[in-house]
């Protein structure tokens, strides 16, 4: 660890991975250089939405975007008194220059998308920028509204001299965040940031009004076990994620390490994606049959999946929407009564598949493990989700029999054409829950009489196979069928991808995130209607709820649990991280928005 910096002034965070190119801060390149943590410390954008609280933050912008009536023009008013780390003031010129540079260099990030909409960008005055759009877009500001990231603003005074923005390394970077780079490892294992003396002249300084730790060191220790050891030795304060085994090993070794909950179920449960198992609906076989998918869902035992496979640490969800406190307020809770009454027809008989006892049964399991969990049902629902589908293999069997499936002498299922029923689920092992849920589903379906195996794939081939529809079943994450999760009521961002315009047959890369190859007129209608209205329109919520129902009816994919993360911190040197007791912001320190969280940290004085 750096010798010349007192540990009390230094926050050490997990760098997530080793940077293969060190000393390159051109964060506008299409896929790199990698940005975790850097982006929150030294870049900035116009707006933020804290995904924990749903709070809208005006960062570089002074106010919310101002659209004209037909959404073809967006005006942005910028904050004054913000400076670059080299002392230059931040003005409309920087924003205009950034957008123009991106528009002009088609390989850069956001370029293609901005080109789709922006016809013109200009400044009205030093602190007002105007975007003229090619087509109406009521959600154009989302490019500049950060969840993970958003268009980073470039310093015009530096970049205007750059001949080829694609080749420029931007080293050392001029910062718009509250930190500057003090040192970096040429081998890419660590980077050291220092708080700007003029930190008050940044958006964070103006919004939060507090400085963060004087120094931030990001460091990559290697695989999880090394991070655990490092944190147990107090050489790491904050790390991105662990599997439950590593986490337990860590808290067994360290008094001061913890995650979101002080005790079981430990992990931060509010990430915005959903884990699901999806089927390729476009293979021309029985997976396209909704009833078959329902049968498969009913053959799963959610309680066992959630407990035995992922350690009881996650919220179950029957709809393709994570049950975060914010979102469940709009979707899960209001839909509960509908779910309870929801009926499917099994061989002519109605059947209510919903099972609201799931959280209690999970709690039972937890108690049996020796954990303390609340008795209160509401608290359990907040912890483990509202409910899920019944484990009803008998019903599943009936459905399948009615569809022409048969069991052979050994009790194994044969498909309607008489073949043994077998398939693989593709899943990436490094996405821990996804993978383990796939293992669990495979085990349960195998026990049910289908030969199911899990095919482990690295990220890239996994993406590629999903993209091409080269799978029968995939254990994936996202907004159920693709699309992008968000922390707002408006579901348009993740619904629009499923429009049948973007449907592509199996074998051609999916045009959007519609990897499951969903095609539905009803869905198209919802998307079109939603796209035409403002995200703030109350109708947006109704349409979102309709979308959820439609999904359940069709069982396009089987949503399993909300995304959770063992974001883990060590309170030995620093405290006041956001926690379940004090959920003031998102703990996702590698998201650009974490810049508003870091100032809240307090040294323990050690």
């Amino acid at each position: 660890l750096p010798v010349d910096i007192p540990r009390s002034e230094l926050l050490i965070v997990d760098q997530v991975f080793r940077y293969s190119v060190a000393e390159n801060f051109n964060v506008w390149l299409p896929v790199g250089p990698p940005t975790p943590t850097r982006q929150s410390l030294i870049t900035d954008t116009l707006w933020y939405i804290d995904q924990q609280t749903g709070e809208w933050i005006n960062a570089l912008a002074k106010s919310e975007p101002i659209y004209n009536d037909d959404y073809t023009r967006m005006v942005v008013e910028l904050r004054e008194g913000i400076y670059w780390s080299d002392g230059e003031p931040f003005t409309a010129d920087d924003v205009v220059f950034t957008v123009q540079t991106l528009l002009a260099n088609s390989g850069m990030r956001w370029s293609a998308q901005l080109n789709l909409f922006v016809s013109e960008v200009y400044k009205e005055d030093d602190y007002t920028v105007v975007f003229e759009l090619k087509q109406p877009n009521s959600r154009f500001h989302t490019f500049f509204t950060a969840r993970y990231d958003a268009v980073y603003i470039m310093p015009e005074h530096v970049w205007s001299n750059v001949a080829n923005p694609m080749q420029f390394r931007f080293w050392p970077p001029v910062s718009l965040g509250q930190y500057v780079v003090r040192d970096a490892d040429p081998a890419g294992y660590w980077e050291l940031f220092e708080l700007r003396e003029d930190w008050e002249r940044t958006s964070v300084g103006q919004v939060v009004g507090k400085p963060g730790p004087k120094y931030v060191l990001t460091i990559f220790y290697g695989p999880n076990e090394r991070k655990v050891i490092a944190m147990a030795q107090h050489e790491l304060d904050l790390l991105i994620d662990l599997d439950i085994e590593a986490f337990q090993a860590l808290i067994n070794r360290s008094e001061t390490a913890r995650s979101w909950y002080p005790d079981f179920p430990f992990a931060w449960p509010d990430e915005l994606d959903v884990r699901f198992i999806g089927f390729n609906l476009d293979r021309g076989d029985f997976y396209a049959d909704r009833d078959v998918r329902w049968a498969l869902a009913l053959a799963l035992d959610m309680v066992e999946l959630q407990t035995e496979y992922i350690g009881g640490v996650a919220r179950v969800t029957p709809i393709p929407e994570p049950g975060t406190p914010l979102l469940s307020q709009y979707y899960h809770r209001p839909l509960e009564s509908w779910l309870k009454e929801f009926t499917i027809m099994v061989d002519g008989e109605p059947f209510k598949p919903y099972d609201e006892t799931v959280p209690q049964r999970i709690a039972q399991w937890a108690r049996a493990q020796g954990y303390t969990v609340p008795d209160d049902l509401e608290a359990l629902k907040a912890m483990f989700g509202i409910g899920w589908w019944k484990h009803a293999p008998d019903v599943a069997e009936k459905i399948l029999l009615s569809k022409g499936f048969r069991r052979n002498a050994q009790g194994r299922w044969l498909t309607p054409d008489g073949q043994p029923w077998r398939f693989n689920i593709i899943a990436p092992p490094d996405e821990v829950d996804t993978f383990r849920l796939a293992l669990g589903a495979a085990d349960q379906w195998t026990a049910f009489g289908i030969e199911v195996d899990v095919e482990a794939l690295e990220r890239d081939p996994f993406y590629a196979r999903n993209n091409l529809g080269d799978f029968v079943a995939t254990s994936a994450w996202g907004a159920a069928g693709g699309g992008l999760a968000n922390a707002v009521v408006d579901k348009w961002q993740f619904m629009q991808h499923l429009h049948s315009d973007y449907y592509r047959p199996t074998g051609t890369p999916s045009a959007a995130e519609n990897n499951l190859r969903i095609r539905s007129d009803e869905l198209d209608r919802l998307i079109e209607e939603l796209g035409a209205i403002s995200p703030d329109d109350p109708r947006a919520l109704e349409l979102g709820q309709e979308f959820m129902k439609l999904w359940v009816e069709n069982m396009w994919s089987i949503p399993l649990v909300s995304f959770k993360k063992f974001i883990t911190f060590d309170e030995y040197y620093w405290t006041n991280f956001p926690t379940s007791e004090n959920p003031y912001g998102q703990p996702l320190y590698w998201f650009i928005g974490s810049k508003f969280v870091l100032p809240h940290l307090q040294p323990t004085g050690r």
Binding site: N424, P429, E458
Partner: protein, 289 residues
């Protein structure tokens, strides 16, 4: 049989190697007795330490580690032996032809061999399995490994044959009317046998190492138990951090023991088969002025 008895009685290395090998080879019959399917999970309670019921405990996937190990060793042996045999077959064929026929044939074959030698094997291997993963059954792995491992042995065999070709008995064979094929297979091959034996073992050791490497990187079919995938899963479930030694320990120990056993066997066998010692055993060679 007599050979075996002699070796067992007089060569301690062979004895040790033999005993371990027999124990290791027991996995083949044993694997037939397994109460579980090789790929089955959730058949026993998870994460139990060794006990009478589960002599090596159970793992986080709900598998009985003892049975799992038996399958793992069996599959790894299959991969290793298959790949070693296959590659040595290619190598022998190529080396013999190249060395004996010589000329243009030799030049072409040697260039191919040399080109293969300069290719960095591990990266290519990792890459190939990365590309073909999922489709990679144990046979597939064995095949790829075999493909990457014949060049060196082939070069060695070739140089052996080159020197054998200069020996007078080659010409005697020729003038006994033997065809090229017979000369190569019946005159030269027997000399190569000890080398090939030793080489098959080292090929096996290499293949096993590679299987472990690939599996540990997660590049093989993870649901098929092999020594490598066992280690993979143990790592995946943090066996080391959590001190579950009964999961990570057995594959490591068995891997080491197997390799050493095979190595010992190969050393003493090739010593035994070496024409020089072999002759010594039969009779002292009379020398002539």
């Amino acid at each position: 049989m007599e050979v075996l008895r002699d070796l067992l009685r007089y060569d301690r290395r062979f004895l040790i190697g033999f005993i371990i090998t027999v124990l290791v080879l027991l996995v083949f019959p044993l694997s037939l007795l397994s109460p579980y399917e090789p790929t089955a999970r959730r058949v026993v309670p998870t994460n139990l330490p060794p006990s009478w019921e589960y002599p090596l405990g159970t793992n986080a996937l709900g598998q009985d580690i003892a049975w799992n190990l038996i399958f793992a060793v069996r599959n790894t042996l299959i991969i290793g032996l298959l790949s070693a045999l296959l590659s040595r077959m290619i190598a022998t064929f190529n080396g013999l032809i190249s060395g004996y026929i010589g000329g243009v044939t030799d030049r072409v074959l040697s260039t191919i061999t040399d080109s293969l030698i300069v290719l960095p094997r591990l990266p290519i291997l990792v890459f190939l399995s990365f590309v073909m993963r999922g489709q990679l059954s144990i046979w597939g792995i064995a095949l790829i490994l075999a493909f990457l491992d014949w060049a060196w042995p082939s070069k060695r065999y070739r140089s052996q044959v080159l020197s054998l070709r200069e020996r007078e008995f080659t010409e005697t064979a020729l003038f006994s009317g033997m065809s090229t094929f017979s000369v190569v297979t019946r005159e030269h091959l027997p000399f190569l046998v000890p080398y090939i034996m030793a080489d098959v073992i080292s090929g096996f050791i290499w293949a096993m190492g590679m299987e472990i490497t690939l599996s540990v990187l997660g590049l093989t079919s993870l649901s098929i138990p092999t020594i490598g995938t066992m280690i993979y899963w143990a790592n995946y479930y943090q066996a080391i951090l959590r001190g579950i030694w009964w999961w990570i320990g057995p594959p490591v120990v068995v891997a080491i023991a197997t390799v050493i056993a095979f190595y010992l066997l190969s050393v003493s066998l090739s010593e035994f088969l070496d024409p020089r010692t072999r002759l010594q055993r039969i009779k002292v060679r009379p020398e002539m002025g």
